[in-house]
């Protein structure tokens, strides 16, 4: 009898340790964020000013918003390489809806989001119905969407949007820039979707074990497609924010953006093998990248170095994550 109590006690301790190490892994990225924040506060007189912090927030909005969608895709063991091109396509078409079709700004923004969702729908159907590998499906979309942008614009920037369009990317509510509010809204919505809805649960389940999910009666195709639609829609929203910040449609926007977005999710603990990732972690990842960029500018470090630093951070984040997971697996034996 005493024997069994001892084991139960041991297991309870293990469970605690496991929970603790989950928190620690988020803390690792969060800790890095805090350290960078403190260092920059001392190193630069400009850093810790409302202007600069709001500026960082606004600049990160595009990456952060798109990264929330990317996190969902990565949780299903997928990837969406097309978000950069799709954000450009959606943004440019959204601006053209104002300048060309004369739509009111809010409707045009909605239109841009729908364009993104449409591209996401194609991605989702290619993955779930045609059975394409997500990497390939979205790599194709990366090229297709960029090509479409150039076809629609003849590779020329689209000007002539009214000043009211600036609001989305440059406006404020009280002292707080609207892009930061958008980050918050999208993050909270993403958190709720992932932790409390069928869609979120099934995303984790499909990413953890697709066949088990299918045999449990989960309509794989529908939910897998939905995740890509969300990613596309958020890429569309991100594109509209980006265009609003320059008040024009820029066909060259977002080249390579997908890499930043994926980096944010991965630094935040999302696993490319699926089944793992959180909105909070991804936000931390996005802001860590943004702080490093901002710090490099403020401290007048050669911009080439920041690229190297961000790459190293990605390595460290994943090495840490793997180390932690291996320890967890070893503890479970």
């Amino acid at each position: 009898m005493s024997d069994t109590t001892a084991t139960t006690g041991g297991r309870a301790r293990e469970a605690l340790r496991e929970r603790f190490s989950d928190i620690v892994s988020q803390l690792a990225a969060a800790g890095a964020l805090i350290v960078v924040f403190i260092v920059l506060s001392f190193a630069s007189p400009v850093f810790l000013t409302a202007d600069n912090l709001f500026n960082i927030g606004s600049q990160t909005a595009v990456t952060a918003v798109i990264a929330v969608g990317m996190t969902m895709v990565i949780i299903t063991a997928g990837i969406d390489l097309s978000v950069g091109s799709v954000s450009a396509l959606a943004g440019v078409l959204g601006v053209m809806l104002i300048t060309g079709a004369g739509l009111p700004v809010p409707l045009a923004i909605l239109g841009g989001i729908l364009v993104g969702a449409g591209a996401g729908l194609v991605n989702g159907l290619l993955v779930s119905m045609a059975g394409l590998n997500p990497f390939i499906a979205t790599l194709g979309m990366l090229t297709v969407a960029r090509g479409l942008v150039y076809i629609f614009t003849n590779a020329q920037a689209v000007f002539g949007a009214p000043d009211s369009f600036r609001l989305l990317g440059q406006g404020v509510i009280g002292p707080i820039p609207i892009p930061i509010i958008i980050i918050l809204v999208v993050a909270v919505a993403g958190y709720i979707v992932l932790s409390r809805t069928r869609l979120g649960r099934y995303a984790y389940a499909m990413g953890s074990n697709l066949e088990a999910a299918r045999l449990s009666g989960i309509p794989i195709r529908r939910y897998l497609t939905s995740v890509y639609v969300i990613s596309g829609a958020l890429a569309g929203l991100g594109g509209m924010i980006a265009m609003s910040r320059v008040n024009s449609g820029q066909p060259n926007f977002g080249i390579g953006l997908e890499l930043d977005v994926i980096a944010a999710a991965v630094i935040g603990g999302a696993s490319l093998f699926g089944g793992q990732g959180t909105v909070l972690g991804t936000l931390i990842g996005a802001f860590l990248i943004a702080l490093i960029r901002n710090g490099a500018v403020l401290l007048d470090i050669n911009t080439f170095y920041q690229q190297v630093i961000i790459g190293v951070v990605i390595w460290l984040a994943v090495i840490w994550d793997q180390y932690r997971r291996r320890r967890l697996a070893a503890a479970s034996e």
Binding site: T8, G10, R11, A12, E14, A15, E18, R196, T197, R198, L199, R201, Y204, A205, G207, S208, N209, E211, A212, A213, R214, L215, S216, G217, I218, P219, G275, Q276, L328, A329, A331, S332, E333
Partner: protein, 479 residues
């Protein structure tokens, strides 16, 4: 905590030394230490009287200790010969002498009784054939000690006989075989001596001749196990599930059967006979070319698993980790996976937690918290989590595909007790197993499959191993 604590083990040349013990007893850990996959914190290994330093798995092979894992370490896209000499290719200057490789491979394959061309890709071989390739690989490095980790777990009866033949041939050439198993029948069949482990310690090492089944189980479990197969007396009711004329390509040909309320129907047959395929086709996991499924007299349209689940069917797959569990999710999330308590897409987290706790109590799932990742549970408890999932769907007919595979003796008895209880509640149970004692003890009727066809159905009062094997191997029988 020590996974293996102060263990002494001697292995003689030419003997089959069986390592027996429940899951978690420390067998696998001990094997990893011997094959130098893991470093012991204390203690030493001697081979032929010489003390061996720890340098990692390559070194163990160099010394003549080879291990065949349950999951094979073969490169599926390479040929048999290429696999046999992987890392030690004959030739010089970075060029492989393919002819020498092929010739040598042929000799090795002959020694393990494998009649396939050395040029075949490993991918195209059956599990049994791949296992022989693994053993041949051990011979290629001139192994003195061959460690086999539950080698029969994925083999059919006939293939097991073949494997035992190979093992006897190896031992007659002075190779020592360390054989890990929990299947009692094989221990008596192939073993010379048995070392029983429990909680990381050696309980005893005995010649097989001094043991019987009861004594061995007692040593493994550390207490008396009343009855491994607790089959309750059940009044058999009306037909619940009627399956007629299911065909699927070459795999299934015109299969029909029925399951009654309170009945446990067994599926017997060799590996590849179509037992799993039949269950999957009924359940909608694979498409079928033709055939109908009726539940309680109502014809079902099953195109995908969710149709079957809605109708009241459940299927526990053979490969728990491969296609049963979402390992990174919690126990609670795995339990509710097939029937999530949700409204308008939003999960009722409180109800989910309560459901999971209730099932945990009811099925005696040993975990300190239902929020734990299912990954860290033992095999038996993982299996219970999947049972809980199907109970949540209120399934009336449940297919259990090899439910006892890879779980320990105590958990096995619990699992079969559960199957009996579910039948008693008036559900229909289908038990797929490659281990005849399970079927003979638990089932009311046994359906035997042979090459995609139903070869026959045997009533309990007419059960005999011989009849089942005769039907399974396609021997013509006047029945």
């Amino acid at each position: 905590m020590l996974a293996v604590d102060d263990v002494d083990l001697d292995i003689m040349p030419g003997e089959v030394h069986v390592m027996a013990g429940e899951n978690g007893a420390g067998k696998s850990t001990l094997m990893k230490l011997l094959s130098q996959v893991e470093r012991p914190s204390r203690g030493e290994v001697e081979i032929s009287g010489e003390r061996v330093e720890f340098h990692g798995p390559g070194h163990a092979q160099h010394l003549g200790v080879a291990m065949v894992y349950q999951e094979f370490a073969l490169a599926p896209h390479l040929s048999v010969a290429e696999n046999l000499y992987l890392g030690r290719e004959p030739g010089r200057g970075g060029f492989v002498n393919r002819r020498a490789e092929r010739e040598d491979a042929r000799g090795l394959l002959e020694r393990v009784g494998l009649q396939v061309s050395p040029d075949r890709l490993v991918r195209g071989l059956t599990v049994a054939e791949q296992q022989r390739v693994e053993i041949a690989k051990a011979l290629a490095i001139d192994a003195k000690v061959l460690i086999l980790d539950e080698p029969t777990a994925t083999l059919a009866e006939r293939e097991i006989e073949g494997l035992f033949g190979v093992i006897r041939d190896l031992t007659s050439h002075g190779i020592a075989v360390l054989y890990i198993s929990h299947r009692l029948d094989e221990i008596f069949h192939i073993g010379d001596r048995v070392t029983v482990m429990r909680d990381g310690k050696v309980v005893d090492t005995l010649p097989v001749s001094e043991l019987n089944e009861d004594k061995l189980v007692r040593l493994m479990v550390g207490r008396e196990v009343e009855n491994l197969y607790p089959k309750p007396e059940i009044e058999i009711g009306d037909v619940l599930l009627r399956v007629s004329g299911i065909s699927r390509g070459e795999k299934l040909k015109d299969c029909s059967f029925e399951v009654r309320a309170g009945e446990i129907l067994g599926f017997a047959g060799l590996v590849g006979a179509g037992r799993t395929e039949l269950a999957r086709a009924v359940f909608g996991a694979d498409r079928k070319d033709s055939g109908t499924v009726e539940l309680e007299g109502k014809k079902l349209k099953i195109k995908k698993p969710s149709d079957a689940i809605d109708a009241g069917l459940g299927y526990l797959t053979e490969d728990r980790k491969g296609d049963g569990l979402a390992l990174q999710l919690g126990v609670d999330q795995n339990i509710t996976l097939a029937n999530l308590p949700a409204r308008f897409g939003f999960i009722n987290l409180g109800e989910e937690r309560r459901t999971a706790r209730r099932r945990k109590e009811e099925l005696n799932i040993r975990t300190p918290s239902v929020r734990r990742k299912v990954q860290v549970l033992s095999g038996g408890n993982q299996q219970k989590v999947i049972v809980a999932r199907w109970l949540e769907t209120r399934a009336k007919v449940l297919f259990f595909d090899e439910p006892a595979r890879g779980i320990d003796v105590g958990a096995k008895a619990e699992m079969f007790g559960l199957i009996g209880e579910l039948a008693k509640e008036g559900n229909g149970m289908v038990l797929i197993s490659s281990y005849l004692p399970e079927l003979l003890n638990m089932c009311d009727r046994i359906l035997v499959m042979h090459e995609g066809e139903v070869a026959g159905v045997i009533e309990r009062k007419e059960f005999s191993e011989e009849r089942i094997i005769a039907l399974a191997t396609g021997a013509k029988e006047a029945a």
